[in-house]
Symmetry: C2
Subunit: 147 residues, 2 copies
């Protein structure tokens, strides 16, 4: 029932990239430092995002990562899908077959509905939304606790 750290890191990484979206490629090293993850582990999280086409990379010196689409065109569902591998609460939601009790089971419909409702939230939010929320939150903190 819990999201794994992979899923949670994935959305944080993507938000980091979105925040620095118009500054050219972002170094793995910098993301690692900001998000407090080792570079090696970060690569394991960021690579699937590249493979799945959510971000692109530039190799060599002065390389780095950047979003493959505009922030408004990437939903949290897209990201979490990559981080978690599957988005369904129960295996049978993805493939009806494989459950030998499918003819008797009354729960598949329930798992499907619960999954659908959960995903509504993730589909309704884009990286653009999250950047706005982030800036809003940062602004409020600055107001409350001015230097």
């Amino acid at each position: 029932m819990k999201l794994s750290t992979r899923g949670r890191y994935s959305v944080r990484i993507m938000l980091d990239l979105a925040i620095h979206d118009n500054e050219g490629p972002v170094f793995l090293k910098d993301i690692a430092q900001r998000q407090q993850i080792s570079e090696k582990y970060l690569w394991q999280l960021i690579n699937p995002l590249k493979v799945m086409g959510l971000i692109k990379s530039v190799r060599g010196a002065n390389g780095g990562y950047s979003l493959a689409r505009r922030p408004s065109e990437i939903t949290l569902r897209d990201i979490i899908q990559v981080g978690e591998g599957s988005l369904s609460l129960v295996e049978c939601v993805d493939n009806a077959l494989g459950c030998d009790r499918s003819d008797l089971c009354v729960y598949r419909d329930v798992w499907m509905e619960a999954t659908r409702k959960m995903l509504e939230t993730f589909e309704s939010l884009t990286l653009e939304d999250m950047v706005l929320r982030h800036h809003e939150k940062f602004r409020k903190i600055a107001e409350k606790d001015p230097l």
Copy 2:
């Protein structure tokens, strides 16, 4: 993100008890046979349901288990809560503290909302609903494939 087998077995066990609700205490042995679980493992699943007050037991010969409340007064949320231990998609939904990034993080609201939507489904369905669905499904199978 996946429900564990404990959660899924728990709702099946409770449905089994609900179906035989007016026949006196149900033997662990019988549930085990119908649900294809070993009696020992079944006890480990059923005992928390008793401890949490969803079912009651009678010890000794001719003992067994029965629902502690009417089927219409037990929701899937009640059951899954026991089976899974926690109902939130991310730890921070339960306890806001403990996350050192809570001041910067924009995702807690998202996890809360997604969890809430998912739980809507589980809260809206009672064991009575599931018994009805079960009988309906059984009736349709019988029509389709008469002996």
